[in-house]
Every structure is written in C-alpha cells, then in structure tokens.
C-alpha cells in the first residue's frame, strides 16, 4: 500500500483516539459519548457517566452496585416485594432465562429512551405473567384480565405493595372518602436540633456583619420573624465561611451544617441530584420531561430557590415556590383545585395553616418515619413528637421520589392521612383527575378492594 495511505490512516486513528480520549478524560461536556438519552429518572445526570459507570473494569455487578447504592435504601424501606435475593436460588433458572430479575437493568435498561415506558421500565408490560400466570387461571376475578394489566391498572406494584396487599385492602376497605383534614402542626426535627457550632467571626468580619445589618433593615426585620431567629440562629450562623470570615452568599454547605438530613435528601432528589453528581445545579432548562414557565428556565435549584433566604417562609416553599417553575397541567390546575382552594383559604386566614394541602403536603410531606415507612398522619406525628425520641422526629422529606412514582407509593404516607383507601386508589388511577389536580370525583374504579373483600368473606 502506498505510504501516504498509511499516513492518512494513522492521522484518522490518532484524531479519533485523541478526540474521544480527550472527551473521556478531560472534557466537561461528555455528550459525544452518550449512546442514547437516559430515562426520565436519570437524564439530569446522564453526562456524569461515573455516577453509574463507577469503574472501567468489571461486569454487570458494577452497574448493579451503582443502582443499589442510590436506590437500595428506598427499596428496603418499601419492603421491596421482589428483591434480588428472591431470585438467586437455582430453582429459578428457567424463569431467569426469560427475565433475569437479579439485575435491575433487566427491566430498567438505560439509554433506551425510545423503548422506555412508565417507571423507567424497558420490558413489555406483561412481565408479571411469566411467573404468575397461574393466578389468571386459578382466581375467578382475574380470569380474562389483560396480560399487561397487573401493574398498570392500580392493583399491583412490582416493588412497593405496602398499600396494595390483600389484607391491607380488606382492613381499609371502609370509611368515608374524606375522613378529615389532616392537621399538620407539629414542629420539625430541625427546630429541636439547631446546632450553634459555627465559629465566631473575626473582628473585621463582625464589623462587616454589623454594617450589613444596618444597610439591610428589611432583611433584618424579615429575619427577626423567621424560624432562624426563634432558634437563635443569627446572621453569623449562615454568613460564615467556616474560617471566621463573612460569607456574602451562603449555600448548601452552610444549610447542611444544621439541616443534615434535609440536605442529604435534597441531594438524592430530582432537584439536587445534579449537585450530588458534581454537575452544575438543576434548572428547568435541563428538563425535557415536564413543562415549566419560560421565565424560570434558568432558575438554579438550591435550598434558596424554594426557601427565601431571610424569611424562611415555609408557606412559600410549600406551594408558590414550586409553581414558580412547574407549569405542567397538574401544577397549572393546582390553585383552582379543592386542595389549592383549601391552601388559599389558609393563606387568607380563613382556616389554620395546618390544614393547607399544598404541593409539599403530597410531594415533600412532613412525616415521621416508623417501622412501616413514612407517614404524614397527624396523630402519628403528634405521638412521635410527644415521645421525645430522637429516632421518631417529625421532618419534611426533601427527596420527592419517596412519594412520587409509581403514585401508589403515596397512598399510605400521604393520601390516607385524609382520604379512604378505596377513594385514593381510584383517584390515583384516573389520568384525567391527575391532570386536573383532583377537581371532582374519580371516574375510574379499581376493583381490587372489592375483590379482596369478596375473597375474605
């Protein structure tokens, strides 16, 4: 072959190698390496390759461990009905050839956006049938049900069945659709745990603090009415770089020093997962999954984006802060919905704020963690605070994934604090009702409670 051909070959090889090598090792933007868009759950961090591909060496266990590192605790807390350990016995060899349920990626294959459907599942929806086909044959109520309806009709959930198992359905089959408005008046764990461990400011920084205080009278007045003032957290508590110097713009690191759990949850959430992966903060512009207000496209998500820095007004954080960015149908219909109207009445002083049903009431709820998971039931919250135990403290969940999708996850911790189980199951299964933010009765009826009661007779 002619020498010049070898030269071109070498140049092309070096050029391609150099380009991809640079992208892999040095470049900030690694989009050239993406083999396909990540799912709705992971697109925020799809350019932080090492979040999942933690090692260049090793096989499927590298990915499996990455899944478990982020999702393991939640699955454990959800009493996962199909944990890996249920499938490792060799007696399942035949079934594993159809679906290898030992690996998360068997059902949740990443970078396959075009074939990814609800809950990030990349398998056809008849996956239950392969192992449980006898149910369709043996149980009269289940005969002739579509193969793909087990987990998609509001009856079963592959991982979290805490609100869907038969005995629970029977035990909670009765009751008015609206039991009572939950009274969420319990103080948070952080109010009890304010830690005053910030270092004293240097003289120079102290002088700056005084000057700032005088220059910003409104901020000082706002602060005086805030929970921080009540907990004796002064300017120095946050405007402190940890070395005794004045810090103009406190950020996550400063919030974290007192609000450890809230911060940790925020970093696991859709709002904070980019920060946790070492990327720039999440903005609505990063999202291709939901609709957002145009003017909020570049609003960076941090503690301060929902919590006004000096007012610490949790009323703002609970609804209007969310709606400043979120503009999908469900969000846009919030204020006109029954939940939104109750909140508006509470904002107007016509009912106590503890009765408000805000975005956060359902998606970032105030909960106590017990052996059954988390609950926002007012009686249980009051009991937890009365117990005085550090292990049973009331806190606002800052990771919305805990009560988001599949929405059956919300039944026990959230919906059932006010509503009956059968009503809530129907409401969550009604797509139109989700879109109009629960304005009206459910038009869908999931027969699971009826069937469970019938079988229990």
């Amino acid at each position: 072959m002619k020498q010049w051909l070898w030269g071109i070959w070498a140049l092309i090889t070096l050029g391609l190698g150099g380009y991809y090598g640079h992208t892999l090792l040095l470049a900030e933007n690694k989009s050239a390496l993406l083999i396909g868009q990540a799912t709705h759950g992971h697109y925020q961090i799809e350019l932080a390759c090492s979040s999942c591909h933690t090692s260049a060496f090793g096989g499927g266990e590298v990915l499996q461990n990455a899944c478990v590192d982020c999702h393991g605790d939640e699955l454990k807390a959800a009493h996962d009905s199909h944990p890996r350990k249920k499938f490792t016995d060799p007696r399942n060899a035949d079934l594993l050839q159809i679906i290898d349920a030992r690996q998360c990626v068997s059902c949740h294959n990443e970078h396959q956006r075009e074939q990814t459907h609800a809950m990030g599942v990349t398998l056809p929806d008849d996956y239950c049938y392969h192992c449980h086909k006898e149910v369709g044959q043996n149980r009269a109520s289940h005969k002739d049900l579509p193969f793909d309806s087990c987990a998609s009709a509001g009856c079963h959930n592959y991982h979290d069945n805490r609100a869907l198992y038969e005995d629970f359905l029977v035990a909670n089959a009765q009751g008015d659709w609206l039991k009572a408005l939950n009274q969420l008046a319990e103080p948070n764990r952080s109010a009890r745990n304010a830690q005053k461990h910030w270092p004293p400011l240097s003289n120079q920084a102290n002088a700056q603090a005084s000057a700032e205080q005088q220059a910003h009278a409104q901020i000082t007045a706002d602060w005086a009415l805030s929970a921080h003032a009540q907990a004796q957290v002064s300017c120095v508590g946050c405007h402190n770089d940890g070395q005794g110097q004045w810090l103009a713009k406190p950020a996550l690191a400063q919030c974290q020093s007192c609000h450890q759990d809230e911060s940790a949850e925020f970093l696991q959430s859709k709002h904070g997962m980019r920060l946790a992966a070492g990327l720039t903060p999440m903005t609505p512009a990063h999202s291709d999954a939901l609709a957002f207000h145009e003017q909020a496209q570049h609003s960076e998500q941090s503690c301060n984006s929902c919590h006004q820095p000096h007012r610490q007004d949790t009323r703002h954080a609970a609804a209007s802060a969310c709606l400043a960015c979120h503009n999908d149908e469900h969000s846009a219909n919030y204020w006109a919905s029954p939940h939104g109207q109750i909140t508006q009445q509470a904002l107007d002083g016509q009912r106590p704020w503890s009765e408000a049903v805000t975005c956060a009431t359902c998606h970032l709820p105030r909960v106590v963690t017990n052996k059954q998971g988390v609950t926002s039931n007012a009686a249980e919250l009051a009991e937890a605070n009365a117990s005085g135990k550090n292990t049973a403290q009331v806190a606002v969940l800052h990771n919305q994934n805990i009560t988001l999708r599949p929405n059956e996850k919300m039944l026990r911790p959230v919906c059932m604090s006010c509503h009956s189980l059968p009503f809530a199951i129907d409401a969550l299964a009604d797509e139109a009702l989700l879109n109009n933010n629960f304005s009206g009765p459910p038009a869908v009826h999931v027969p699971s409670v009826d069937w469970a009661v019938e079988r229990a007779k």
Partner: protein, 189 residues
C-alpha cells in the same frame, strides 16, 4: 559426581511420582453435608416455632404477633415458614456453595410449589414415604446439582391451624405430625 547427579535425578523422579498414588483429597459426601445442614435447619425451625412463636405469641404470653404481614405491626414477627425463608435468603447473600428452600405440593403461596421435575418427584416421594428423605441429581441452567429433599413435619398446632384456615391453602386437613412440605437443599456439583 555422576553418582551424585544420578541420585539426585532418581530422588527427584520418586518425589514427583510419589503424589500419583495418593488418594484425592476427601471432602464431605454431599449426602452427609446436606443431612447435616438439614439437622441444623430443622432444629432451629422447630425451636423457633415452639420456643418463640408458641411461647410468646397469642397462644402463650401474647407479647409478639406472628403474622404473614409482620412488618405492619410494631410487635409483628415472622411466621415460622417466613423465618425459614429469611434464613435461606440471608445465606444466599453470603454463599452460593449451597441453597435451600421450603416448598410444598400444597403451598399457600403458589411460588413455593415445586418448579423443577426433581422437586416435584422429591416432594411426592417424601409425602408418600414418611420418615424417608429423597436424594437425586439434576441440571438447572447449565449447572449440575446434588439435590436433597427432606420432610417438613407439622410440629405444632400453630402450623396446622394456620394452613388449614388460610384462604389460599389448597389443603385444609393437616394434622399434627403430618408432612406439610419439604426442605430442598442443593449443592452444586
């Protein structure tokens, strides 16, 4: 010098060949291994049923609540069969040198019915031949296993009453001492 070299060569040959007649290292026979495992499992299972569930449950001091959905009760505890399975799953997380499971041809949960032909054969054999165990070899996936099946006997009326009354139980006439199912232990060959 030649003599020394010759002696060295002969010694080396003898030493290198001396291993040929040595018997292969003897391990425990699979049957003894699985019999021993079953002895431990069965003792623990019986003790949990009689000394914990029966003694502290509703038939005794009534301080614990053995229940199928034990996680939903603050004082909930696993039913004996669930305790056995929890042990099996915990073992599977630390070793694959053996696996075991509790199965029955009259299972409450159909996932615990025999799945492989040998499980079916073994469970039917122990049900038809009280007091005897079943041993065999089978291939699952691309691996061969020594498979042993041991009878699981109703040791307490808590076992029989629960299975006889459960809405998903295919058999409702169990009596104390009946074989209710079997413990299947597998050792890869």
């Amino acid at each position: 010098m030649k003599k020394a070299l010759l002696t060295l060569a002969i010694t080396a040959s003898v030493v290198s060949l001396s291993g040929c007649n040595e018997p292969a290292a003897q391990g425990i026979e699979p049957k003894i291994f699985t019999d021993s495992l079953f002895a431990v499992m069965n003792a623990d299972r019986t003790n949990y049923t009689k000394l914990v569930v029966k003694r502290l449950g509703p038939d005794g001091a009534n301080v614990i609540k053995p229940h199928e959905n034990w996680q939903d009760f603050d004082n909930g505890t696993l039913l004996p069969a669930q305790m056995f399975r929890a042990g099996s799953e915990a073992v599977a997380e630390v070793t694959s040198d053996f696996t075991y499971s509790l199965q029955s041809i009259w299972p409450i949960n159909s996932q615990n019915a025999p799945k492989t032909p040998m499980e079916k054969e073994g469970l039917e054999f122990i049900a038809a031949n009280p007091g005897q165990n079943f041993y065999g070899e089978e291939t699952l996936g691309d691996k061969s296993y020594f498979t042993a099946v041991y009878p699981d006997v109703a040791v307490s009326d808590a076992c029989t009453s629960c299975h006889n009354q459960h809405k998903d139980s295919p058999r409702t006439d169990f009596k104390l001492g009946d074989i209710m199912g079997g413990v299947v232990i597998r050792v890869p060959r």
